[in-house]
């Protein structure tokens, strides 16, 4: 019983500010560090999107601060097209990597995976600390790209060569800025792979007695499969980054074909393939977007079950769906390349595999609805975010059904329809997963409650706001509005669409402004929030049975023993409407 039996990795309790809060081995501190990194990054990313939307709605506007910070990119405070493209590139990069790949997985996962499985820390606490600081370094290098000569790269978060490989000659920001971008991503790959190893080993080897795989909360399943995806996908991106750096700096021609003439200059490369980059990038890129959404799905299931006071409908099916999505995510990357010049036969194959991956996603939605059926729904703020997640996941997911058909994609590829699709599913649904997790777990992490009233206000403005922003983008796509256009004045067909862009921008500014309410709620609660009980939601999983906040080794030396599944709510005959996973089995006294 206890320590002698279970794997045990916790370090001694630290003393001193540096050991406790800066270079900490404690998964809880590291989880909060990742969360804070993501919080910083999301506000940076949102600022960039403000600039993007400003340019689209009111091009030529003077923004004096911009002129001061970026005299090259925005002379006299007016954004140049290359500046717009660099804002767009960095917005995508920062949001995808430093927000969606960190907060849901490394943030909440680090904090709660060990506790939810009954472990005292992650399998490798030192490696965990290293993973965070390497991620931090990656962010520093990325932000540095803004401040070098030429500024940040303009090739999109996808960095397709030859544009990204030819250097300054192909455009501003494609010099040092692009190189720093690639370097940052390479560092991020390593950090992610290290983190993934921790999650995988922890889940396999550190579970408490009685915690079989099929008793894991769905959050743990999501974190586990996400980690496997990360481990296998980031290695490929790292390889691609190495090859791109060599093309840029060592004269190789992996991606650069021969006979190129850029601005009347003959480029001395030959034989490379731009499509090779796309294959490598998207082989990573597709699992990456599932890395972004799976933890949110886990959190949604978890939160829904708690506030429906009902077991999750179809737990087994949900587990298989997570595994199915994870596995299939490696088979579909070509659907990003239908128009790329790749073989049309290959396109058909990818279209079919993509259709296949849509099925388990639909199953999850049915099961969420099934959980709501016959429930006793409690409308806490966390629950609202989870419900919003379901709504947005459906909306974002079904637009994928247009894009996975090559024939239909002929029209919609590289239009705002695609922008709508991925924002709905990543930029909104996944974010709702993060918000839901925040409102749900804040009491356990910080020992205080977030204000429910203001939280609901934050939710409603955001929920209506995101639909108002991204629904119209589908219509822009129907009208054939191409993406990544810095100015809308060159084409007649874009003229009637400029008004829509204005409305989108206005909704965006409103919604972004509402996120400051969240900041206020968050920081106010940190210092002045109502003190939280150990289990304010009356939830069943192990994190709600430990003190708030948990002690350094989570369980004070006494590892828990698990007696039942994770979502035993409203069990007939039970004294309360929830039975914790670790509550001892007591034989029923004869009634």
């Amino acid at each position: 019983m206890g320590e002698a039996v279970q794997a045990h990795s916790v370090h001694e309790a630290p003393a001193g500010f540096i050991r406790k809060y800066i270079f900490s081995y404690d998964h809880k501190v590291i989880g909060i560090q990742y969360y804070m990194l993501a919080l910083f990054s999301v506000f940076l990313g949102m600022t960039l999107s403000v600039l993007v939307r400003l340019n689209l709605a009111w091009p030529g506007t003077e923004v004096p601060i911009l002129g001061t910070i970026f005299p090259e990119g925005a002379p006299d405070g007016v954004m140049t097209p290359e500046f717009y493209l660099s804002m767009l590139t960095m917005h995508g990069t920062i949001m995808v990597f430093f927000v969606l790949t960190t907060a849901p997985q490394s943030g909440f996962g680090n904090y709660f995976l060990p506790i939810q499985i009954g472990a005292d820390d992650m399998a490798f606490p030192t490696l965990n600390m290293l993973s965070f600081w390497v991620t931090f370094l990656s962010l520093v290098v990325m932000v540095a790209a803004f401040f070098v000569q030429g500024g940040a790269p303009i090739s999109g978060w996808t960095a397709y060569p030859p544009l990204s490989a030819l250097g300054q000659i192909a455009g501003t920001g494609l010099g040092t800025g692009q190189s720093l971008w690639i370097l940052s991503i390479a560092i991020f790959c390593i950090a992610s792979m290290l983190g993934a190893i921790n999650f995988i080993v922890t889940t396999i080897d550190m579970r408490a007695e009685g915690m079989s795989m099929m008793r894991l909360p769905l959050t743990c399943w999501a974190w586990f499969v996400t980690a496997i995806l990360g481990l296998l996908a980031f290695g490929v991106l790292l390889a691609a980054g190495v090859l791109l750096l060599l093309d840029r700096h060592a004269g190789t021609s992996f991606f650069i074909p021969g006979g190129l003439v850029v601005s009347d200059q003959l480029i001395d490369h030959k034989g490379g393939s731009p499509l090779l980059w796309q294959h490598l990038f998207w082989f990573f890129g597709h699992p990456e977007v599932y890395i972004a959404i799976l933890p949110g799905m886990g959190a949604a299931s978890h939160i829904l079950s708690t506030f429906c006071r009902k077991p999750i409908f179809g737990y087994k099916a949900m587990v298989y769906a997570i595994m199915g999505i994870g596995f299939c995510s490696f088979l579909v990357w070509g659907h990003h390349m239908f128009m790329s010049g790749m073989s049309p036969y290959t396109a058909i194959v990818f279209s079919l595999t993509t259709t296949a991956v849509a099925v388990p996603s639909a199953i999850k939605t049915f099961n969420w609805l099934g959980t709501l059926w016959g429930a006793r729904i409690q409308f806490t703020t966390a629950m609202l975010w989870a419900l919003g997640f379901v709504s947005l996941f459906v909306t974002g997911g079904i637009s994928g059904l247009f894009l996975n058909q090559p024939a239909v994609d002929v029209y919609l590829h590289d239009t705002y329809f695609v922008v709508a699709h991925f924002h709905m599913i990543m930029g909104v649904a996944a974010i709702f997963g993060i918000f839901g997790g925040t409102y749900y777990w804040f009491p356990k992490m910080f020992g205080r409650m977030l204000n429910e009233t203001w939280g609901k206000i934050h939710f409603w403005i955001t929920f209506v706001g995101v639909y108002a922003i991204f629904m119209p983008m589908h219509f822009l796509g129907f009208a054939g509005h191409p993406r990544r256009y810095a100015e809308l004045t060159s084409f007649e067909f874009l003229e009637p669409l400029a008004a829509v862009q204005k409305y989108i921008s206005m909704f965006a500014f409103t919604t972004i402004a509402a996120q400051f309410i969240f900041l206020a709620i968050f920081f106010w609660a940190l210092f002045r929030g109502k003190k939280a009980d150990i289990n304010p939601w009356k939830a069943t999983t192990i994190e709600w049975s430990v003190p708030t906040p948990p002690p350094h080794d989570n369980f004070g030396g006494e590892f828990p023993v698990v007696h039942r599944g994770p979502y035993e709510y409203s069990v007939p005959g039970a004294a309360e409407d929830f039975v914790p996973q670790t509550a001892p089995d007591v034989a029923t006294a004869k009634s």
Partner: protein
Amino acid sequence: MFFAIIIWLITLVSVVLTVGKYWWLPELASEHGVALDRQFMLTLVVTGIIFVLAQVALGYLVMRYKDRPGRTADYSHGNDKLEVVWTLATAVVFFALVIPGQSIWASLHLNPPTEDVVRIEVTGQQFSWNIRYPGADGKFGQLKPELTDDSGGNALGLDPDDPASSDDLVVPVMAVPVNRNIELMLRSKDVTHAFFVRELRIKQDAVPGMTIPLRFKPSKIGHYEVACAELCGLGHHKMRSTIQILSDEDYASWLKDQAEE
């Protein structure tokens, strides 16, 4: 209650704005576009139904099963049979939607060009399009990248020593004859671009180092804009050209006029 209302309102507004076609695909001008538009509409209807059903169901469930005093939740872990049923149903609907549409793709890309195809070469560069016609000899002249000279009027690097080059016509705008099979040979001088004409329902990346065919059959006379649909640098948004669909006679005289200039 409030949640249901908001969700239903969002659903309603979305459906109205879609059905009203306020921002829509422009009028069709190509043959394959008919089937493409039909598949598009089918997809829209199917996804629309799923969208409405899901959001309505979500709102309904949230309203109906709100916690009230005296209520107990249904202690159910699920229903395996139901899982199988809705998994199969979903798979059937999704594949039934996607598989037939592949024939449209096949007709665009897997059929060889016909004998009488009109072949035109399109080369993208930062930030303009160069359209090349083979001229009376029907042959495209040799290109040599080292001879490229934008300001000197030889954007493609046409080799003057190749006899086939002498009647080649390189222009910034395009014209094609209506009701004829057209094959555009897409190329690029520098980075990846993409050739996109909304009304013709055609789009294809122009990748440097490759020559990629794009086939279509224009079915209506008209004048349309050509846009670049792959981020190619700071002038991506102004890489505009136009394509005219002309009758056979008008096309012939257009070619003559262009050659004279």
